[in-house]
Amino acid sequence: MNQQLHDALRAEYELAHDTIRPDGVAAVHTGAARRRRRHMAAGAAVLALAVAGAGAVTWRLLPGDGPAQMAAGPDCDRPGHNVALFLKSDVTEEQKQQLDLALRSSPEVYCLAYETREEAWERFKVEFSDAPDLVAATKVDQLPEAFRFRVAKVREADVVEQRIHGLHGYFDYICSCKTATPTKPR
């Protein structure tokens, strides 16, 4: 029965797959832009742009909104750029320790903090509190763990990236200096 069911569903799927004509990616962009204009017209411009445009970097807009350790960490007020190192879902403790060690022993790195899934989730919920179905559709284990820290200069972000290059357990290295325009006067 299971095989028969699987085959029957598969046949239905193939038929739909061959018949569907996607609206196209351009329609996504116009749809999103139209919605953004509506938000702005509604007077919610700042929030909508922070959510729609800045995504993962939104927290930088909100001073004092970082994880607890980060607020407590030394030198966090020093001018510089925020960097996030996103860890793979199957990262091992050992890999984490090696990344942690590499970052800790880097003179360029300051205000280093480790962000758990739960902390990422709390941040996510606050940021997307205007989109409850988005929050409902997201699981805590879909959000990556991360190391977050700061560097003074763009060049130093590259130096640190080079240093951890051979290590494993992370899937992305993002510097705010490269993904978004500065949001606060430095």
Partner: protein, 165 residues
Amino acid sequence: MRDAEGFAECYALQFRQIAAQLSVYLGDLDEARDLTQEAFVRAWQRWDRISRYEEPATWIRRVAWNLATSRLRRLRVALRHQRGARLELVPGPDEHGGHGVAIRDALAALPDGQRRAVVLHYLVGLPVAEIAELCRVREGTVRTWLYRARQSLAAMLDDFREAHR
């Protein structure tokens, strides 16, 4: 900057797949296409973040399915006023009762939860735990859905074969 190229690639690779899966659940191709498009719009609005997930497509599929479920809930309320009415089905290519029409009718006759569980489990390939999480029910409930759905589908498909012998 959101990575428009990466997004376009994800759209090209995943759109049909997500929409076709949804279409089997909904029994409505146009509806499935619209909901999937909407899910991609939402993904693009948060692409900075979502593109960094290991599988952005999983997120998009979840949003599309959640949209479909709330859409179906509204539709069911509307249908309560016209008993016997069924979801409009995609016209099949074979009017003489091929396999496709049989499974389509059988699926349409299932309660919503059972149909969702069957498609997610046997077509999309999600494990029971993940379906439970997606539908916000206990795993035992999903197992019951799958069991009942298999019983009804087996009976309906047998009847069908009997009738066309």
